[in-house]
Symmetry: C2
Subunit: 214 residues, 2 copies
């Protein structure tokens, strides 16, 4: 398998974690998001993934765009260890948490959005940082409320086994910390992230441990 | 089942389509997104769905947040008719298209984001409309490129059976039309949307046919 990604992309980071958890080896291909106006806009990459976004997973003849679609694919084709619970209610809970991060936080803080704020709306760095922190605070506060005191929350987001909820949460929290977001009111999230980062599969996926890290 | 939604919410619209396609009856509960500062922020609703976003599906004792998580749940628990193909590659393609809409377009044009642009960044109506159209144009152009000329594209996004890709696309195109986006370069999308809207399950889910339509 080949993973087209970028060390700092939290969407690629999700996929790296899942590949590591499932013990799948892969070739990492760096798509630099800023060099030369962004290698994700190059014609060759667009042929692979018309969205011009990363990551893309290539498995044999198949190219898959969108990290959540990639994670569901990996879960179907490489089911062990499972990253979704076996019951429909548990699967719904894990996907709700994962999608709350994938849809409600991450897309708002993507590089292309920050670039639009800067160039089209003339938002200065302070305004862009406030935007970034606002959506993380709103989004992670909601995730904390989904987790705190819920009977299914365990050592990890859902029970005592790692799930896709954890796979999505850890990269989002890494972004939050990079932008100095206040996580003091999110004790459940920070506790779970610490559990995750103690695992080798998560540690090997860290941005600073990627070959293209700067 | 109960669906907490709002006639104009395209995320709720997705769920209405899927419930109709699967022949599931449900009680529609309107959560007015603007009345009284937004009923989605009321304490009772936040107990049901801490994200303060719609929709929420209630099925027996289970509350599910996030439209994509709801759609996956419905697919697992009420599998007929299937809204995902039977092969992993096909499922990956359908989920890629669906997530390209759910993640790359819709979250950027949500009401709360438009409100932030207005109140925090002082973006006027023209700037907000340009923002709205920009992300739709970028996002749907990518979806058009994923569909046009692809051997798996048929009468619908994936072959000749309706899938989650269509379920996501139709509400997004309805939003695009409400904001007068130019869809002239997206002939595959507009052809498929026309096919979909000719079906009763899609027609009954239209915003203007909901009991809370204004």
């Amino acid at each position: 398998m080949k993973l087209y990604g970028y060390f700092r992309s939290s969407a690629a980071y999700r996929v790296r974690i899942a590949l590591n958890l499932k013990g799948l080896s892969y070739e990492s291909i760096s798509v630099h998001l800023q060099k030369g106006g962004g290698q994700q806009h190059a014609a060759d990459y667009l042929k692979l993934n018309p969205t011009g976004l990363i990551p893309t997973l290539v498995d044999g003849q198949l190219n898959i765009a969108q990290s959540m679609a990639i994670l569901e694919y990996l879960e179907e084709v490489y089911p062990e260890p499972a990253l979704l619970p076996s019951d429909a209610a548990g699967r719904a809970r894990v996907r709700s948490i994962a999608q709350a991060i994938a849809c409600d936080i991450h897309p708002l803080n993507n590089l292309r959005v920050l670039q639009y704020l800067k160039h089209e709306l003339n938002a200065d760095e302070a305004a862009r940082d406030a935007w970034y922190r606002h959506w993380i605070d709103r989004g992670l506060s909601a995730v904390e409320a989904m987790l705190a005191g819920h009977p299914s929350t365990g050592k990890f987001c859902h029970g005592d086994r790692v799930s896709l909820a954890d796979v999505l949460m850890v990269p989002q929290v890494a972004n939050a910390r990079r932008f100095d977001c206040d996580l003091s009111k999110m004790p459940t999230i920070t506790r779970i992230v610490e559990e995750c980062n103690a695992l080798d599969a998560f540690a090997r996926a860290l941005p600073e441990r990627q070959p293209d890290a700067e």
